[in-house]
Amino acid sequence: MTLPIGNILDHYTLLAGTLFALGGVGFLVRRNMLIQLMSIELMLNAVNLALVAYNRVHGADMTGQMFAFFVVAVAAAEVAVGLAIAVAFFRLKSTVHSDDADTLRH
């Protein structure tokens, strides 16, 4: 089970790294708060993929999958609170543009 270039774990790592970097770029570049939250989800998913892939190749037990399970739970809680903050912010400013969150700016 080999691809023409490199071994299979390289490909999983490369895919996870690319997904993480795309999420990071989306978080930095986009100004819509909801899309920024989606970018955070993208990064968490990439981390999960790397955890499971390395656990499959190197792990003697399934600790990596257990970690990925906890990451999923934390991500679900984070989405609930993040979306609640977005809704509250929309009520305050009538926008979800994250540049408008400057009430504390001096």
Partner: protein, 204 residues
């Protein structure tokens, strides 16, 4: 090319196209659908990696709850009148910085790729990734984090409700009148009476 590698390439392609859609799409709904594609692709990769339990969790929690919540909030808030982008030098600087991060990670991976040892996926034990094995691990080794996660979820739910709930008391209902008919029906009994209400009773 074996079937496993073909499936890996297919799932990777789906996940990458979804991720690019999340970042590039102007419409947040399209971003949510791109996130859904990424999640489905990663669930397929979990299946390929003998993580059946996590694939099911991924589908239930992410595709079933998180994306639906995102779409619900997008529909609730409606289109943003200001739009997303305003351009300008800061945006270009952010884009250049993000591309630099991407390139740096690619270079680091290229430099590291010679040191990753195994040439192919070793054969997995039959219980690897099954619900029994992962559940046993969660309830033995990860018992304390598991209980903390339950507390975290409760706190997150309470916090979300406290954040979104409107402040102040709910508006009072209109007081009841002395007219027994109006008190009984609270308005026109028939829709056709809405246009011309009953004449007021003479004061006695």
């Amino acid at each position: 090319m074996t079937a496993g590698i073909a499936f890996f390439l297919f799932c990777s392609l789906v996940a990458l196209v979804g991720a690019i859609t999340v970042v590039m799409a102007k419409n947040p709904i399209r971003s949510a659908v791109g996130l859904l594609a990424t999640i489905l692709g990663i669930a397929g990769l979990f299946l390929l990696l003998n993580a059946q339990f996590l694939a099911a969790v991924q589908l239930i929690v992410y595709a079933g709850a998180v994306v639906v919540l995102f779409i619900f909030v997008i529909m609730l808030l409606g289109p943003d009148p200001k739009g997303d982008e305003e351009g300008g030098p800061t945006r270009i600087a952010r884009g250049v910085g993000g591309a630099g991060v991407l390139l740096g990670m690619g270079a680091a991976l290229y430099a590291l790729s010679g040191s990753v040892q195994p040439a192919e996926l070793p054969p997995a034990r039959p219980e690897h990734g099954s619900v029994e094995a992962v559940g046993g691990l969660i309830f033995s080794v990860g018992l304390v984090p598991f209980e903390l996660v339950t507390a975290l979820l409760v706190v997150a739910i309470v916090g979300a409700i406290a954040l979104v709930r409107r402040k102040g008391r709910p508006p009072r209902r209109t007081p009841l009148t002395d007219n027994p008919t109006a008190r009984l029906f609270g308005g026109p009994v028939h829709p056709r009476d809405g246009a011309e209400p009953l004449p007021k009773e003479p004061a006695s």
